[in-house]
Amino acid sequence: MIGELERQGLGPTGNDFPGDQEPPRLRRAPSRASDRNYPRYDWSADPAEEEDGAGNAEAPPEIRTLPWPMERKRAVRQVQQMRAHVSFGAESWRRNKTKSLRKLQQNVREFLYFFSLWRKSLQKIGGNFGGGVKSYFVFLRFLVVLNFVSFLLIAGFVIAPSLVRRSAGTGGFVNSTDKESCLVYDPNPQGLVVFYEFFLHLLSGTGFMEDSFMFYGYYNNNTAVEDGSLSYNIPLAYLFTAAFYFAFCLCCIIARMGTAARVAVATGGRAIGNYSLIVFTGWDYGCLGDRATKLKQKNIYYRLQVDLEEERIKKRAASLTPWRKVALYTLRVLMFLIALGLIGTAFYGIFEATKFSQENGDRFGILGLFIEYLPSIVITTGNFLVPLLCDQIALLEKYSPSITVVVALLRAVVLRLVSLGILLFTLWSQITCSGDLEKEDCGNCSYNNKKYQCWETSVGQEMYKLTLFDLLVTIALLVLVEFPRRMVVDNWSSKLSQLVGRQEFVVPSNVLGLVYGQTVVWTGALFCPLLPLINTIKFVILFYCKKITLFCNCRPALKTFRSTTSTFFFLVVLLFGWGLALVAMIYSLAVIHPSYACGPFRFFTTMWAIVPNSFYSLSEVTQEFLFFIGSQAFSIPLFALSCVVMCYFIALASIYGRSVAMLKAQLKLEGQDKQFLVKQIEKMKRNNI
């Protein structure tokens, strides 16, 4: 069957290339017409001419990006090589340079591929479950890398110097003040040692864990050094590392958002049509396996149905009578208030649970552990129940499907982040006696030192417990709910199991879980420097757990909405969490008095106070320079300049949008002109005949 093939018109190396534009080959006539669209390679172009054209070292397009058959590309390459042999001097040097640069790029890319974490797993996930699920795992990988790099930062600047200082032995540092009672702090109360106390301490961050590098309380504020050659200001380093950590995370997030946003801005910002996108880019060519293919087809079918359904709903909404419109809107407002009420109940529950937990936190044993974890338990239960109830409410609201999903997601985001905020608020009110520093408990040390001998460590412990509980709940759900569910559904065929079906991997709620975990870490990083490391380990465990459950227990979600599975959306939600953590950090830095009994900021009025103090130890010139930067003479012109730059970019973006619209209109007009001219020609032909 191979024998009866057409012989190629061209020799194997293209040496008998006659020099005209078309290779002498037998081709089907229509595909010859499609060459019209391809870029032409100019055989007569002299490389020397190209170079003194614009003075740019723009090489001719890479051969492999040209849409030609292989033989033609190889022929072109041969011609180029022959030319390269002939020319000397600058051109050949430049050509060699571009060539070696490309080779270097390729080698670097291959090298980085080798190091790219979990690349094969991600491909497998994408091929079998689609882009939405893959984007969750890509987001998870991003967070793992972010946390690990942050840990390296903190370890380098804070933990390592502290280790060195500790092992070198510390001198006396106690200034005698009149706040004797505030200096009492004993993280390791000796008492009856129960045999399971190790695990209790491990789970609640007390005892041996409290008296370690884990928490703020262990660090000292000594800056002087034995031999006087090196001096390292640990408190200043601690503060600046925390601030830089936040800035670094913000830069990473915005850098990642930038690539996604660039496409939207450059094309005029208009959301492009759904239908053409689905039809032409809906199919994932990397889909492997029969089952994945069928699911992909169902997915595309469902997406088209959703769009068609939206059309129908729009038509129906436009045809509603005014009375029905009013009824619908009142129903929506009512449902919104109910949803708000549900969320408010959850918040109140968290508030009460935190207060109770902080007040009764000195019980022993399992009961004590339970009370300590009470806020985490209430938050997790709330985050689980309230979205379920809101989903039921959403059924009554009768929004179109895409709006329903976005609204549900927004509610879940608000629930998660604000519940964390409520927890922080409750802690704050406990620590500072609700801001009233004249109260009996807080009057002495400007914070509640009866309950909290070292309040920063307590906050760090709370964040540590939240992180740990999150991981334990995920693993527990995996083992106790998802695996049994799959076994029940697979082995017991009844109507109920058909109805329930296999677990669906719902991307948005999983992503919210990740954002929540990361926000907790950001909030706690100031008080528990090892928390990013713990979070890295937690996310790595989470990756493997989720991967296992995905492949064993889940079927892919039939209902996917692009907007809610895009990386841009995840990063926006992550930014909200970052903002919340930033507010908490700034407040603790600038307002609350640090503990007297522990930590690097022992004798400052606020944590931030160390910066002005150290400022005066800088040289005169630096001080003047920094004063100048902070003064109005500098900041007002800078502000004005940034306003001008921003206006320029906004104007540029709007001009692009407008020119895109104008060009589109022009294209339409030209198309109509062409049709008109064709009709005229035909009319004239008919008249002539």
Partner: protein, 187 residues
């Protein structure tokens, strides 16, 4: 990177490396895959450029293409005779365009060819209907197919001639964020 391999000359491998998005290792691996499709027909020694073509039926049996609803069109777009018979050069070309590092413009050109069922250089309504039916395995009703095709042409047609030329298609693809990642077969 074997100096010991005898399948291709070094010069051939260099040429392949420059003309595709594959490295030497990957090209040798591709030759292995091509060979195992028809071990009796594909020679192991390509140094003198043997003239060997595999028919469509063998190529679309590959696991990477087997389940793809457009597998026939893909292979036909890359075959010179338009019937789907691929020589090794065309085979490598096909997977090079579908690889991860191929640029967007190149992929768009071939995507257009793939979706152009009647090969008239335009995506007309019949082409779209065929595409849609293959995408959804004919589960949409004819009215729905009609509606979707109309809306697609509405959205993408810029010059108002009720069919999509290559520039319409390219313009629409340039704004599709995940085109690069979906139009990708890993081999």
């Amino acid at each position: 990177m074997g100096n010991k391999q005898t399948i291709f000359t070094d010069e051939q491998l260099d040429a392949y490396q420059d003309c595709t998005f594959f490295t030497r290792k990957e090209i040798l691996r591709l030759h292995g895959r091509y060979h195992e499709l028809a071990p009796h027909l594909v020679p192991m020694d390509y140094t003198n450029e043997p003239d060997c073509k595999l028919p469509l039926a063998l190529i679309v049996d590959m696991p990477e293409l087997k389940e793809n609803p457009f597998r026939n069109r893909i292979v036909e777009s890359f075959s010179e005779d338009g019937m789907g018979n691929l020589s090794f050069n065309e085979f490598v070309d096909m997977f090079s365009v579908l690889s991860e590092t191929a640029p967007r413009e190149l992929k768009a050109i071939y995507a257009f060819k793939i979706y152009d069922f009647n090969v008239d250089n335009y995506l007309c309504k019949e082409d779209l209907e065929k595409t849609l039916n293959r995408l959804t395995k004919e589960e949409l009703t004819p009215e729905e197919v009609d509606l979707v095709c109309e809306k697609t042409i509405d959205e993408a047609d810029l010059d108002g001639d009720n069919k999509l030329s290559y520039s319409d298609f390219e313009n629409m693809i340039s704004r599709a964020p995940d085109f690069l990642s979906t139009f990708h077969i890993r081999i």
